[in-house]
Amino acid sequence: MAEAALGTRTKRETYPHVTAWDRLKVNREWLAWWFMLPAGAFLVLFLAYPLGLGVWLSFTDTRIGRSGVFIGLENYEWLWDDSVFWISVFNTLLYTGVASAVKFAVGLYLALLLNENLPFKAIIRSVVLIPFIVPTVLSAIAFWWLFDSQFSIISWSLRKLHLISTNIDFLGDPWTARWSVIFANIWRGVPFIAITLLAGLQTVSPSLYEAATIDGASTWQRFRFITYPLLTPIIAVVMTFSVLFTFTDFQLIWVLTRGGPVNATHLMATLSYQRAILGGHLGEGAAIATAMIPFLLAAILISWFGLQRRKWQQGESND
């Protein structure tokens, strides 16, 4: 058998001719180009190009149905003197700051609670995620009804408990409206943070806690010196996502208040929609949207450097 096999091999001295096409077929660069083509086409046509176009539009006076001309920084100068724009910036920062901080605190707390040994653990953990699964708009509608000025069940319950005498006008007063939308955002964001942090918590070895307990560490010390440092990388990533998506939130505000009462809850995203699509001033709306980019870049950079530090701590090489 073996001799026969060797025999045939020695006889066949000439290999089939390798054409340029055959070489090309196994060329990785060439193959990769084709493999990347569909994703690349989508991302260039509908992501990179519009991103550039958005920045360009912000320097023009384009309106719906009329292409604009370059007007330099006029849109930005106009926004600089626009008090509604500054209200929206303030709201966006307040909304992002408060909601992210509370989401982080409650999410981490919930993750720690879920990490305990519980009966029906799997079911409880699955149910926690439901607010995150349900489309934001649909749960926002439920909140709209909960925050109704006349028939709110929250007002009703508080009245029955004799804590308040008249109904709270949740979405009608500037500050209660702000806190109401922030609450709805927190409600929606907590499950995501809790479950991702829970995943991180489970990679922490219990023997570390046992060792710390033997050394006399209190619950707080165990959290502060074991859980928190080991969770830092995942916290950095999760919070970047959370801050980014809270900062650019649109759906919740649009359903609950549409920026009202009297622009008190406008975020930059809702204001840009109102100015650009409803008002028709595409250039001005694009300028508001472009003004969000520096904030987003700052958030990305912070998380980036958070991760870099982590890599170094773990003693890994940069890949």
Binding site: Y49, I133, V134, P135, I141, I153, P206, Q251, S272, L296
Partner: protein, 309 residues
């Protein structure tokens, strides 16, 4: 990119069921906690948080089956329960509005966009992870950055682009723009999955004369099925959830998706609108919740995969 968690490999099943990574130590120090103590520090706060998280859904479901007069009269009827449920709102929703059409639109657009994105992402992720062409790492990083670009800074320029391409007010406006949200995410997720498939399998296949395409379809994809399911479910949910593009690019009622249609078509100033509004919200959420119930583990792995870097 770093592999913050890849080194420790989160198991989605463990996220849901396990108490820790090391099952044999799961007893741990729990003997230190007495029942009354656990009641106050664990069950009570957990119960309150769960109640707050679930209450809007209970309220949604209850409103959807309450008769109108009970909805607006909180004094004569107990607002927290109803003894006379009605299907009137749901019937109105299904037979007197275009709701089934909107549901169909949403499902069709979500499916098409998801399938398109998964196909594109599989190819891209495979090329980045395994073909390792020049600059693959940079492209990987760029794709992660693309994931961080939110729709709310893109919708204005995209609306002009969609108009230029002649897609305005067609389902294609959404089918072609949703992948910009989905492709970065699913490529990132699948890159993680492909990295875990042993390279030796591919080397064997290469020696046996398989082409790259055969390797992808006959070796890598069958092994990456859990990853594909995760990506599929998560993308589908993202599509269903998408609002701002659908609001901007679609104007005719018959082409709308459920979230946009509910917000724009049901809010007609009618004081009795709440029942059908809540029925609509409930019917729009149920398909996703059912899907989620079947694929919880895949969903969790997609979510933890999304932050795995």
């Amino acid at each position: 990119m770093t592999d913050v968690l890849a080194a420790k490999q989160i198991d989605p099943r463990a996220v849901l069921t396990g108490s820790s990574a090391l099952a044999d130590h799961s007893e741990g120090m729990s003997y230190l906690h007495s029942l009354p103590r656990r009641l106050v520090t664990l069950y009570l706060p957990l119960g309150i948080i769960m109640l707050v998280l679930m209450f809007p859904f209970y309220w949604m479901a209850l409103t959807a089956i309450k008769p109108d007069e009970q909805l607006l009269d909180l004094e004569t009827f107990s607002p927290f329960w109803t003894w006379t449920p009605t299907l009137k709102h749901i019937q109105k929703l299904l037979f007197e509005s275009s709701y089934p059409l909107w549901l169909w639109n949403t499902m069709m657009i979500a499916t098409c966009a998801t399938v398109l994105s998964i196909v594109a992402s599989v190819l891209a992720a495979y090329a980045i992870v395994r073909l390792r062409y020049k600059g693959a790492q940079w492209v990987g990083g760029a794709i992660f950055l693309a994931y961080l670009i939110p729709p709310s800074i893109l919708f204005i320029p995209l609306s002009t682009v969609v108009f230029q391409y002649g897609l305005f007010d067609t389902p294609f406006a959404l089918i072609l723009t949703y992948p910009t949200i989905l492709i970065p995410f699913s490529t990132w997720l699948l890159m993680g999955y492909f990295k875990t498939i042993p390279f030796e399998l591919e080397e064997c296949a290469l020696i046996d004369g398989a082409s790259r395409w055969q390797i992808l379809t006959k070796i890598v994809l069958p092994l990456a099925v859990p990853g594909l399911i995760s990506a599929f479910i998560f993308c589908f949910t993202l599509c269903w959830n998408e609002f701002i593009y659908a609001l901007t690019f679609i104007s005719s009622t018959s082409h709308k998706t459920v979230p946009v249609a509910i917000v724009n078509e049901f809010v007609d100033g009618d004081i009795y609108r709440w029942g059908s509004l809540m029925a609509g919200a409930l019917a729009g959420s149920l398909p996703l919740v059912v899907l989620y119930a079947f694929f919880v583990e895949h969903y969790v792995s997609a979510m933890t995969g999304a932050v795995k870097e």
